[in-house]
């Protein structure tokens, strides 16, 4: 992805950061500005309020960054300012050898979350970029220690599975109790009841289910009474399907991910069986949700412009207390990359593998298949009935009113889907040649569309 103003704007955590960065884009503030084109690195030293300048570095290839300032915003204003100046005019950035602190950061970044680094070697002086990039071989371990470690891991896995079985049984009983005692009471007291069962599920190591139950009241609260009951039944019913399916096949990675926790990124990269799809992708929308547990989930939806699954979603979680984290993408951006999909019956969640710089030619969207735009959703329900919603590609259509509700209607008038996110009046007046949205079985949340006014963003 080229480092342009749109990319920098998208990276900024908020408007205030961009404004603050703008104030730092003056050469006098930066005693040092340098780059290594071969290493895709740009760094600088910014004179802050302290005695020492802040050291700031970013990678022009993937826009990762680091700054020594104490800001809790990511990226901070220094990173944004440095990117901004570089995007505007790279000529004042002198070509230079990568300094130690940059190599150090690079080394830590490349080894984070993987195998432990050799601390003795790493603390040595004379570090270089080449050294930082060298993969450190595993330490040789004592076979007895390794056997004990494996035995302990197996025991932990068994204990976890037992805890999960107990937790899911507890959850099923809890759902039965809600039906027996009446959903009217549940809807009246759902916050406390969901909080209580979610806490028990956390104790039972079923974090994913716990998060889902914890979020249920927030999902139901904005709805009217009729929709609230419908959605509560739908959500509880889906949880029943999920828990029943998992209890029958506890080793299924897709089901386990929905009940407990996800696989690590590293395990996905190392697993040769995962689906890898190299294609051109378009960033179609982003959903950022702050959860009750203090975490923020950031979902970036991608439309496949080539062969393979029609869509992918990149899911990230981070602490809400850190402020809004940067998005590595600009809405509508197209890029070529290999995605590694989490194993699933209908592969959707993925992580970004190798990414290539995108060409300037825009690739047109694929056409919506079949006569019924909901067919892919229904197929997904047949394969994985525990799924609650999925992305769909819609054919030509338009916005319509029905009372106070807004609907998407296909151009031939054959299909109509109720829309969650009301577009501004001038957007509602556009003719849509193709749209992408998330369908939950009842309502459509539109992400982006191609229209007679070009590509428009409907949710970002």
């Amino acid at each position: 992805m080229p480092l342009d103003h749109d990319a920098i704007t998208a990276l900024a955590p908020d408007q205030a950061s961009l404004k603050a960065a703008n104030g730092l884009t003056k050469a006098k503030k930066w005693p040092l500005r340098a780059q290594s084109e071969a290493d895709h690195l740009v760094w600088g030293e910014c004179q802050g309020s302290g005695a020492n300048p802040y050291r700031t570095v970013f990678d022009t290839a993937n826009h990762s960054y680091k700054c020594t300032c104490p800001s809790r915003k990511f990226p901070c204003k220094h990173v944004l300012a440095l990117m901004w100046m570089f995007a505007d005019d790279p000529s004042p950035f002198q070509p230079d050898a990568v300094p130690d602190w940059v190599s150090d950061w690079l080394g830590r970044r490349r080894t984070t979350g993987s195998k432990p680094a050799d601390s003795a070697d790493k603390s040595a002086v004379g570090k270089s970029l080449d050294e930082a990039r060298v993969e450190t071989p595993d330490k040789l371990t004592d076979p007895k220690v390794e056997a004990r470690r494996q035995a302990a891991a197996e025991k932990r896995a068994k204990d976890t599975e037992a805890a999960l079985f107990a937790a899911t049984e507890d959850l099923q009983q809890w759902i039965s109790d809600q039906l027996r005692t009446g959903l009217a009471g549940f809807l009246h007291d759902m916050t406390d009841r969901c909080r209580s069962i979610a806490a028990r599920l956390v104790d039972g190591k079923a974090q994913a289910l716990a998060g889902r139950l914890d979020e249920l009241p927030a999902k139901l609260m904005p709805l009217n009474a009729e929709e609230r009951l419908e959605t509560a039944l739908l959500e509880l019913g889906k949880i029943v399907i999920l828990t029943k399916a998992w209890r029958k096949n506890p080793s299924d990675p897709e089901l386990r991910r929905s009940v407990a926790t996800s696989e690590t990124r590293e395990s996905l990269f190392e697993n040769p069986a995962v689906l890898r799809v190299s294609s051109h992708w378009e960033v179609i929308g982003e959903e950022i949700v702050t959860r009750r547990d203090g975490m923020v989930s950031q979902a970036t939806w991608l439309l496949n412009l080539g062969e393979g699954p029609d869509f992918a979603v990149l899911l990230d979680f981070f602490q809400a207390s850190l402020g809004r984290r940067s998005s590595a993408f600009v809405m509508g951006e197209q890029f070529e990359a290999e995605l590694h999909f989490y194993p699933a019956r209908m592969p959707l969640r993925a992580i970004l593998g190798e990414r290539k710089p995108g060409g300037s030619e825009k690739i047109v969207w694929p056409s919506a298949n079949g006569s019924d735009p909901l067919t892919p959703f229904l197929d997904a329900q047949d394969a994985a009935p525990w799924l609650t919603r999925g992305p769909i590609l819609l054919p030509a259509g338009r916005f319509c009113r029905a009372g106070t509700d807004i609907w998407w209607q296909s151009a031939d008038g054959q299909h109509a889907l109720r829309i969650v996110n009301t577009p501004p009046a001038h957007v509602a007046g556009m003719q849509l040649s193709s749209s992408v949205g998330l369908w939950d079985g009842k309502r459509l949340s539109l992400l982006g569309a191609q229209s007679n006014w070009g590509r428009i963003q409907l949710h970002d």
């Binding site: 039906l179 509700d405 428009i456």
Partner: protein, 473 residues
């Protein structure tokens, strides 16, 4: 399907109040549930799944498509320039007036904004090309091809009528007057005033009967005052002798020069605020011919004799000429302001409003060379042809030197932020006025002076430099 739907409703109702709902399930489902570990949970799973795969919600009322957003007569900003346009709004506090000017600038280059980047909410002061977006979703007919007439009057929005009437006055002043005469009476006072202002375009003797009728019978004092001012421009004697004499008494006529004894008229120094307030009030109601007559002078002679040098009085006098002077008197007054060193440029805007774009364009180099503390007058002079000043004219502007000094001072000392607002405002105005070559030259000059290329204040100049007139490539 209806049977299943009814059964599901009964099941939900049962769960709502509590208890087992298995008995409410259709017989074929009950058979399946018999083999389940927990029939109630199995029924819940089936109910949930049926809700999203077996049924689709239908609209509660007939679907009404939204009216299509009309295309505008100009193309939208080219894709590659939209990002910088969006950043202008994202990084700067843009007032309504500035956003209007920006849209006027785009229109003068042959473009309109993309609705997804910026959708105007008010259209009164926007270029006429935005007319189709004004109330587009509430109107059935698009008036772009409709000609304003008595029959079509109600199909036009107030702003569109004014634009159409101005055009009609240029083509056929009598026809426009007849239309205004027929329809203005039905309008509320504010709209009536705007419609009657159109008579200022190509004002002629033929308008006198209608104007006299307005002075005698219109319900709005503002409309009466406007009609009176128009009559004064046409040289009609008004019943204002008493007020004119009172205003004249606030002035004094004298002689200046040793050899060529030239008559000069200047304002007396007044002692009290009440006197000054009364004089200001009189300037709003007395006409130029009336004041001249009270001073026993010809209006042309009064303009030639006015002693410039006192900004407040000069502004009042120029306002008087702009309101009630004939076209020739107006032009003479503009020439005097531009030629008098002691006359401030900011007395010009009311006079310039009455000049044609060509006349304003002719005066622009002199205005630029005269304006020392800003570009306000030059900008108001450029209405209708923004983005056309060349480098040669710009370089003569004394304010550019002042601006450069402020930029250098700020670049030399970051703590000197007192001039930031001035710099931002001036660069915004410059960005609207310069042609692409001058805009690029200005950017280079400011960068050399120490400004950062990434400074948001340069955005409008950058957009200007990148946007080739009428070339959507």
């Amino acid at each position: 399907m209806t049977e299943l739907s009814q059964s599901l409703e009964k099941i939900k109702s049962r769960w709502m109040v509590g208890g087992s709902a298995a008995e409410q399930a259709p017989p074929e489902l009950r058979v399946c549930l018999g083999g389940a570990d927990d029939p109630e949970l199995a029924l819940l799973a089936i109910t949930a799944q049926a809700g999203i795969v077996a049924f689709r919600s239908a609209p509660s009322a007939e679907l009404t498509p939204y009216a299509a957003l009309p295309e505008l007569p100009l193309p939208t900003l080219p894709e590659q320039h939209r990002s910088i346009f969006r950043r202008i709004f994202a990084l700067q506090k843009i007032s309504n007036e500035q956003s209007n000017l920006l849209l006027h600038f785009l229109a003068s280059r042959g473009y309109v904004t993309h609705p997804a980047d910026f959708m105007p909410s008010r259209f009164d002061d926007l270029p006429a090309c935005y007319g189709p977006w004004n109330g587009w979703d509430e109107r059935e007919a698009v008036v772009s091809n409709l000609e304003l007439s008595e029959e079509a009057w109600d199909h036009f929005l107030p702003g569109e009528r004014v634009n159409a009437l101005f055009d009609m006055r240029r083509q056929d002043a009598g026809k426009a007057r007849s239309l205004i005469e027929a329809k203005a009476e039905q309008l509320p006072a504010e709209q009536r005033l705007r419609v009657i202002q159109c008579l200022g375009q190509n004002l002629s003797q033929g308008d006198i009967p209608f104007l006299e009728k307005l002075v005698g019978s219109d319900r709005s004092q503002k409309v009466q005052a406007l009609a009176t001012a128009f009559l004064a421009r046409l040289g009609r004697n008004l019943d204002e002798a008493e007020n004119a004499q009172e205003l004249a008494d606030f002035h004094q006529a004298g002689k200046k020069g040793l050899i060529n004894r030239k008559t000069i008229v200047s304002a007396r120094k007044l002692k009290t605020a009440a006197q000054r307030a009364r004089r200001s009030e009189l300037y709003e109601i007395v006409s130029l011919p009336g004041l001249a007559a009270a001073l026993q002078m010809d209006p042309d002679a009064l303009i030639a004799s006015w002693q410039f040098g006192e900004d407040v009085m000069d502004a009042s006098f120029c306002g008087l000429v702009a309101r009630t002077g004939s076209d020739g008197q107006l032009s003479a007054c503009v020439d005097r302001v531009l030629s008098e060193k002691s006359a401030a440029a900011d007395t010009l805007p009311p006079l310039l409003e009455r000049l044609s774009a060509e006349d304003r364009k002719r005066h622009l180099p002199k205005i630029l060379a005269k304006e020392e503390h800003g570009f306000d007058t030059a900008l108001s002079c450029m209405h209708g042809y923004l983005g056309t000043i060349g480098t040669a004219d710009l370089e003569k502007a004394p304010f550019l030197t002042e601006l450069l000094a402020a930029i250098r001072a700020q670049a030399d000392d970051e703590k000197k932020t007192g001039q930031t607002a001035l710099i931002q405002e001036a660069l915004f105005q410059l960005g609207l006025m310069a042609d692409p070559v001058a805009a690029q030259a200005s950017i280079n000059t400011f960068l050399t002076a120490g400004m950062s290329r990434a400074d948001a204040a340069l955005l409008i100049l950058q957009l200007n430099a990148a946007l080739t007139p009428g070339d959507p490539s």
